[in-house]
């Protein structure tokens, strides 16, 4: 199904499809990738892991021609590979599936698949064998997608598969996937994994980058670990001794932590939501206690973000929301004034001012503290930034660093700093650790626990079971816009039951 010359039979374990040797990339003052050498065997799923800032992105950018190495060499199928732009990479047989999808919504699946490969005569498009081939490729990896469907009607997961099919049918021998499951529900993840396995069976090599370690154990043949720009190890996954070994290699310390019940939580209800209903939500009612960490768990589309935005007043919703006895939910401004802050789902587009510095980002949610009769108190801003950079351990050499240049985990900490500066008593965290490395994740969980211990309430909206089980005291299970069940976390929590509920199984034996 692909154009590459190697037949599966010839791709023995000893033939690396991609090899890097002594690869180094220097930025002024920083060595982002430091003398990295490893090779990737043909027809395998090769995982690339490391904390944010470990050098994964820089490495991928060099592989795709977006950056050129300072020194070192790369080999593809045994020949020298020196891409200077993304087209070179495609010509070399390396395709990339970025987190942001590059499909054209207004075209059909087929048109998307052949985009940029059209042949024309006298300015008119001509049909070619190409179309048959891409249709076959798509059918082979995901038969359920109709080639004549308009892409705008597809789900994110299906769009992703269209992009994969485009890469595969363009003859790529290596497809790099950067956090492909970040926006997918668990069922969609399963489908993507099936696609990846089919690709591997047809001798396409997949370089798989993810923060979700369980995915790596499920899917990967081999794993390469990077830390601080250095190559730590490349191993067969069968030789890796569980998550803890992988995590240890990634961060050099052990961070695996389970939920431990916190001390007695007050039963003072700070937030009461009754009958929340809108185009997604169906009659959702719940309460949150003072000092409690609650989780809203369910797949993408179950209504998590909608609840968070409704509580924050960002979207209109029917029903009533009371916070500390006062009605809220009309505007974010009102919510913040009442003591509610939101860490939004998309930190780059909704949470951060990426073109501004850390210093300029932190104070935005508390103008009262910042204003002295309308005059800006620069010293308050400066001190707050220094304070939160230290308290949240934001890795930066300066508070004047633009937030777009921070790693994902540190960007998220800046968004947290914004909310903390707002003096909120209730924090709404929508996917707080998405795209965040393991180390920063642990730190964020510690921040959340500390906040709750100080008497603040926290609501976490997450599609990662591990996350809600790891930190929440009480978990609300959502399916298709309604709150199906409530689970109190503890040692004997029933994970299969939870998964059953949020995938549409019947509620039974609710704790």
């Amino acid at each position: 199904m692909t154009d590459h010359n190697q037949s599966p039979a010839l791709s023995s374990d000893l033939a690396p499809v991609l090899a890097v040797k002594d690869l180094t990339k220097d930025y002024p003052g920083v060595r982002a990738v430091d003398n990295v050498s490893f090779s990737i065997q043909s027809g395998t799923v090769h995982c690339l892991v490391g904390e944010n800032g470990a050098g994964k992105s820089t490495l991928v950018k060099m592989l795709t021609g977006a950056l050129q190495p300072t020194s070192g060499s790369m080999n593809v199928n045994g020949s020298q590979y020196e891409p200077t732009n993304p087209q070179d990479a495609r010509d070399g047989g390396i395709a990339t599936l970025f987190q942001e999808l590059h499909v054209v919504d207004e075209l059909t699946v087929l048109e998307n698949l052949t985009l940029g490969m059209e042949r024309s005569r006298f300015g008119f498009l001509i049909k070619s064998k190409l179309e048959d081939r891409v249709v076959q490729t798509l059918y082979a990896i995901e038969p359920s997608i109709d080639p004549s469907a308009r892409v705008s009607t597809l789900s994110v997961a299906q769009k992703q598969i269209v992009e994969i099919a485009r890469a595969a049918s363009s003859g790529a021998s290596v497809i790099i996937m950067d956090e492909p499951t970040a926006a997918l529900s668990e069922r969609e993840v399963e489908r993507l994994f099936a696609v990846i396995r089919r690709l591997r069976d047809s001798a396409v090599t997949v370089v798989y980058i993810s923060h979700k370690l369980e995915e790596i154990f499920q899917l990967g043949d081999a794993v390469t670990v990077l830390r601080d720009g250095k190559h730590i190890a490349t191993k067969q996954l069968s030789d890796v001794d569980g998550r803890s070994e992988l995590i240890e290699m990634m961060i050099g310390r052990s961070v695996f932590q389970d939920y431990s019940p916190r001390g007695k939580i007050s039963d003072e209800k700070v937030l009461l939501a009754k009958g929340l209903t809108n185009s997604v939500l169906r009659d959702v009612s719940f309460h949150i206690n003072r000092g409690e960490i609650v989780g809203f768990y369910g797949p993408v589309g179950a209504g998590k973000t909608e609840i968070a935005r409704a509580l924050f007043g960002a979207d209109k919703v029917a029903g009533s929301i009371e916070f500390k006895g006062h009605p809220v939910g009309r505007s974010p401004k009102e919510a913040i004034a009442a003591g509610i802050a939101l860490v939004p789902e998309e930190r780059r587009t909704q949470g951060l001012f990426t073109s501004l510095s850390i210093r300029e980002n932190v104070p935005v949610m508390n103008l009262r503290r910042l204003s002295n009769n309308g005059v800006f108190r620069a010293s308050v801003e400066h001190d707050a930034a220094v304070d939160y950079v230290n308290r949240l351990n934001i890795a930066t050499e300066s508070i004047d660093k633009h937030t777009e240049k921070l790693s994902g985990g540190n960007q998220q900490k800046v968004v947290f700093a914004k909310c903390l500066f707002a003096d909120a008593d209730l924090l709404l965290l929508d996917e707080p650790t998405r795209g965040v490395d393991v180390g920063a994740k642990t730190e964020i969980y510690d921040i959340i626990r500390n906040l709750a211990d100080e008497g603040n309430s926290v609501a976490i909206f997450s599609s990662e079971l591990e996350e809600v089980l790891g930190i929440c005291d009480r978990i609300f299970l959502l399916y298709a816009g309604s709150l199906e069940a409530e689970v109190t976390n503890g040692a004997n929590v029933d994970a299969p039951h939870i998964l059953n509920v949020v995938t549409g199984g019947h509620v039974g034996g609710v704790q």
Binding site: A314, L356, V364, L367
Partner: protein, 342 residues
């Protein structure tokens, strides 16, 4: 924690480092100085103090408009209506102040006292600003379209009031005072003083007030601004009202200076105001720029224009020279910023 120690040390270093805005402003100012010296080599008598001052004072109107336009650009919005408002408020101030019972329609006004005439004219200007805000903020129509419409609306009303010509008769004596009076026993005219004071206020607002910072936040990321509790609708409304108020005052001062209300006054001023803001490093996408930069942008444009005149180039060449200056300035800025942030 070792990290803490590091931050403490490098912070003191960083406070001395320039922001990107300061860097661009310095760059624009250097270009202005360089251009001035270059023009002095080519044009006889160009290198004179008086000439330098004239470059600024002759452009008081566009610089004043540039202040409102720059703030709106930083917030991510256009204002193309300011030129039309200049014509409208000028024409209205004349019409309202003209005595009743003139010889013909164009010499007959409403006969209001001058102070009331200019207050009502400012009301007309603010009405255009309110219309801009209404369509941009409430109906979420792109500002470039809205203000293109109100630009034509404002000038259209001016045209109707002057019947496509001008009104300049039957005016009270005090009508010509504001635009021509000099200040503090110097030759500085009131409009120039107005511009200077406005510049100082604008710089203060931009650098030192919460209002100024809100403008940057809204321009840098309107979605994040809303989710951070910023009432961007209210803020952008204020910005449109301020911009139209400035344009209204400029129109009244110009009408007073020439003792006439002319419907074509201020033609293309909205584009000059936009050009000097862009020349001065204000980002067309919002979130970045400064009033000081805009000021030096105006100086650059003035040097190019007046040097061309000094070199006895036909005025027909002015637009091409302006175009070259704009392209060069913007390419230089993009290049310099990219290099700095690499």
């Amino acid at each position: 924690m070792t990290v803490t120690a590091n931050i403490g040390r490098s912070l003191s270093d960083d406070r001395r480092k320039m922001s990107d805005e300061a860097f661009i402003t310095l760059l624009v100012a250097s270009v202005a100085v360089g251009l001035f010296l270059f023009a002095s080599l080519l044009v006889p008598n160009f290198f004179q103090l008086l000439n330098m001052l004239n470059l600024v004072t002759n452009n008081w109107a566009v610089i004043s408009l540039g202040i409102g336009v720059s703030f709106l650009l930083v917030s991510g919005n256009f204002d193309l209506s300011v030129g039309g408002i200049v014509a409208l408020s000028g024409v209205l101030s004349v019409w309202f102040a003209q005595a009743t019972g003139g010889a013909n329609a164009l010499s007959t006004g409403l006969g209001l006292p001058y102070w009331l005439a200019i207050t009502c004219a400012l009301g007309g200007a603010l009405a255009i600003g309110a219309l801009n805000a209404l369509f941009v903020v409430k109906f979420r129509i792109p500002s470039i379209i809205v203000t293109l419409g109100t630009m034509m609306l404002a000038r259209g009303i001016a045209q109707v009031v002057t019947q496509g010509s001008q009104r300049n008769t039957n005016l009270p004596d005090e009508f010509g005072v504001l635009g021509n009076m000099t200040m503090f026993d110097t030759s500085v005219k009131l409009p120039v003083a107005f511009m200077l004071i406005l510049l100082l206020i604008a710089i203060f607002i931009e650098r030192k007030t919460v209002f100024g910072r809100l403008t940057y936040w809204i321009g840098a990321n309107p979605i994040a601004a809303s989710l951070s509790g910023i009432d961007k609708e209210k803020h952008v409304t204020y910005l449109y009202l301020f911009s139209s108020l400035i344009a209204g005052i400029v129109g009244i001062l110009l009408a007073s200076e020439f003792k006439s209300g002319y419907s074509n006054r201020g033609t293309l001023m909205e584009f000059d105001a936009l050009v000097i803001a862009l020349l001065g490093g204000v980002a067309i996408a919002g979130g970045f720029g400064s009033v000081v930069g805009m000021f030096f942008g105006a100086v650059i444009l003035a040097i190019v224009t007046s040097a061309a005149t000094g070199m006895v180039l036909s005025p027909d060449w002015q637009y091409i020279l302006k175009a070259i200056a704009v392209f060069l300035a913007i390419v230089t800025q993009t290049w310099a910023l990219a290099r700095r942030n690499r």
